[in-house]
């Protein structure tokens, strides 16, 4: 195919039926009824082990001052809904930050401690805890103003073919939702359950870990945890999921 032909094909692909906002359903919709019940049950959803660990870290002193709770008193009230507004543009730096990024920023700038590092158990725990405080609340992430260029970059990422298998996110997660990919059912590919406990991982993982698995699946570059590419994609997915309930810690296959 010529370069012009490929450009035309890419344009057609972008036009090819993206799912309408009112069609998009949470990831848990594609679980068995038993797994849906297990996700809801705090005593049977293993993700809550990380939530409990995060809750403990949130108020632990260990010589660290201030602790999280010294600024965020009564987190069940003060941080309710906070996670539903991430990722967002950090006003001071102009950078897009997700929940993990904001927690690390507090850790480094305010607590003067070394960053936990993406995918560390401590950061997963704190992220899961803060996300759990917004459970059931509608996702409300902005794609306007300072967020707009990041949203556009995420949308472009979502719609472009990549990897040796030459697939775009939209081809499966809009066009083939409900179909079987081996034994798995394709979902709308939104991140409202993350960090999630995945059976395949036998542990809790971040959305970026899940995105890296998708990249590997199409034999594409796996971008770094917290990379600009995945942050922009996370924003686009969050806007796609606008008004859907937060599910973290989700349970996923």
């Amino acid at each position: 195919m010529t370069a012009a032909g490929r450009a035309l094909a890419a344009a057609l692909l972008a036009l090819a039926g993206a799912a309408r906002a009112d069609e998009i359903k949470p990831g848990s919709t594609f679980l068995s009824p038993e797994m849906q019940r297990q996700q809801q049950d705090q005593s049977r959803n293993p993700g809550y082990l990380w939530v409990e660990q995060g809750e403990e870290l949130f108020s632990r002193r260990d010589g660290v001052s201030p602790t999280c709770i010294s600024c965020h008193a009564d987190p069940k009230q003060s941080l309710r809904g906070a996670a539903a507004r991430y990722p967002q543009v950090d006003a001071a730096s102009g950078k897009l930050v997700n929940l993990e990024g904001r927690i690390e920023q507090c850790r480094v700038d305010r607590q003067k401690q070394p960053a936990f590092g993406y995918e560390s158990q401590d950061l997963l725990g704190l992220t899961a805890y803060v996300a759990s405080l917004s459970k059931g609340m509608p996702l409300s992430v902005s794609a306007e103003g300072a967020a707009k260029p990041f949203y556009e970059a995420g949308k472009a990422f979502y719609e472009r073919r990549q990897g040796q298998l030459n697939l775009a996110c939209t081809q499966c997660h809009d066009g083939l939702v409900g179909q079987k990919l081996r034994g798995d059912t394709i979902s709308y590919g939104i991140g409202t359950g993350y960090p999630a406990y995945r059976l395949e991982w036998n542990g809790l993982g971040s959305l970026h870990r899940r995105l890296r698995a998708c990249s590997l699946g199409v034999r594409a570059t796996q971008f770094d945890y917290g990379s600009d590419d995945y942050l922009a994609l996370e924003l686009y997915l969050a806007v796609r999921a606008r008004d859907l309930p937060m599910e973290a810690p989700g349970l996923r296959r």
Binding site: M1, A3, G5, R6, L8, A9, L12, L13, A16, R160, R161, Q162, G163, Q164, L165, N166, L167, Q171, C172, G175, L176, Q179, K180, L181, R182, G183, S215, L216, R219, A220, T221, Q222
Partner: protein
């Protein structure tokens, strides 16, 4: 004299920098590629192994084949039972090599193409998903699936 030397040096350079893994050429006729890639002869048994294998071909992630002992077959692509009766070997070959030649919006990955791809993982860069021999092996297996 001097020009000739430069010219031959340039030719040497071009030869040296030509990709070692340049893909075998093929000719499209209608919706088919009638000639075997590189003149290679496909092996049905190797082709079957590639189709069932979960890492290399991994065809069953999207397709169903008449193999009752294979659980968890995908539902994305057309079922492959009887595909050898529906399509001839040239048509099968083209669809494996680059189904995008027929339908630019296809979800079927190109299994014998290295150009026009973006952000390919380092381990898979500059080599096709299947070699010419492997394409011919899979063609031989698919051509044998004649019962719908």
């Amino acid at each position: 004299m001097r020009l000739a030397a430069i010219r031959s040096a340039l030719i040497m350079l071009a030869l040296a920098s030509a990709p070692a893994s340049a893909l075998e050429a093929y000719k499209v006729v209608g919706d088919a590629i009638p000639a075997p890639l590189g003149g290679k002869i496909g092996d049905l048994k190797r082709g079957r192994a590639l189709v069932l294998d979960r890492t290399q071909g991994n065809c069953l992630i999207c397709h169903q084949v008449p193999e009752p002992n294979e659980p968890f077959q995908g539902t994305i692509g057309p079922g492959l039972a009887g595909v050898g009766a529906r399509l001839d070997t040239g048509q099968l070959r083209l669809r494996l090599i680059d189904a995008g030649l027929l339908n630019p919006q296809t979800v079927m990955p190109p299994y014998f193409r290295i150009e026009g791809l973006r952000d390919v993982a380092p381990a898979f860069r500059d080599r096709p998903a299947l070699t010419a021999q492997e394409i011919e092996d899979v063609v031989a297996y698919l051509a044998s699936l004649r019962t719908p």
